[in-house]
């Protein structure tokens, strides 16, 4: 399940996604088929072997050159005990975040309302409200943000 918080930053929230990823990433992460899918879908790049990634823009590159949004998705997959700051993710990350939420529990903090996939499934932490479409997601997001600010 995708759990969404909309309140303040907490101690277990990864805010500086890009730099944190660069420090904690491990080579074996890139053997994970879901991680490879995320890199392909978000950054249009292919993992060749280990941390050797082929990019249409940079050519051969290391994982440090992945976008912040792609790094956020990989952290959600590999460090699911943390909350990841989802406002670092572009709208193009949320289809794959939605898919990841179907196979494992992940947690994001949002300080903006992304354009979610139509079939987004999520549970809002502050209210316990579970939503299963974009319209209901947007309604609950703004209702909670209004009530918290």
């Amino acid at each position: 399940m995708l759990y969404v918080s909309v309140g303040d930053f907490t101690e277990d929230c990864v805010i500086d996604v890009a730099r944190y990823f660069n420090i904690v990433k491990r080579p074996e992460w890139f053997d994970d088929e879901f991680v490879r899918l995320a890199i392909r879908e978000i950054d249009k790049s292919e993992v060749i072997e280990g941390e050797f990634i082929k990019s249409p823009v940079f050519g051969a590159m290391a994982p440090e050159r992945l976008s912040s949004g792609c790094k956020a998705v990989i952290l959600l997959r590999k460090m699911s005990h943390y909350i990841v700051y989802g406002t670092r993710c572009g709208d193009n990350c949320y289809p794959i975040i939605n898919e990841l939420g179907k196979i494992q529990d992940i947690r994001i903090l949002l300080h903006h309302c992304p354009k979610m996939p139509e079939d987004i499934r999520a549970t809002f932490v502050e209210s316990g409200e579970e939503v299963n479409n974009r319209h209901d997601f947007v309604e609950e997001y703004y209702r909670l943000r209004h009530s918290l600010t």
Partner: protein, 162 residues
């Protein structure tokens, strides 16, 4: 000094990357898809001083600041475009105060690469700076989507959709 200044053009040209935009207000908020080249823009500017083939064309000095250096940047810089890439300091009340005090006085323009609502709130707040001739507010939001065709990058005004 005026809140509404001439439009400031910013162009970056390097072997594999081009960027072009016009800044119409003191604060421009930029967001966009992941992987489209926003952070690469920041890198281009950071290394341009030491790189013969990266050209930054702007009538003002352009540099990148962060959560550690923003105070000296806003208070000390003059005639500059300052870029913040997903920096938490833009949510700080002291940052907002420093913007109100210094952007017009020091002729500074900010580009905030940031999706958060706080960044958009900051743009609205600074757009309503109380000047000696009364409250001045700007109806249009300066929030832009970062666009790319792979090599060329540009900004398009954001269409808000709910």
């Amino acid at each position: 000094m005026t809140l509404l200044k001439n439009t400031i053009g910013l162009d970056i040209v390097s072997p594999n990357y081009e960027f072009s935009c016009e800044l119409h207000r003191r604060i421009t908020v930029v967001h966009g898809e992941s992987g489209i080249g926003k952070s690469t823009l920041v890198e281009q500017i950071e290394v341009s001083n030491n790189s013969p083939d990266i050209r930054v064309k702007c009538e003002l000095h352009v540099f990148v600041s962060n959560s550690q250096s923003w105070q000296s940047a806003l208070q000390g810089a003059r005639d500059s475009v300052i870029i913040f890439d997903d920096e938490r300091c833009t949510e700080d009340k002291e940052f907002v105060k420093a913007c109100k005090e210094n952007l017009v006085k020091n002729n500074l323009y900010l580009i905030l690469i940031d999706r958060s609502e706080k960044a958009q709130d900051l743009e609205r707040v600074v757009s309503s700076i109380k000047m000696k001739y009364g409250m001045f507010s700007i109806a249009t939001r300066e929030v832009y989507n970062f666009k790319s065709d792979g090599i060329r990058h540009w900004l398009e005004r954001d269409e808000v959709e709910i």
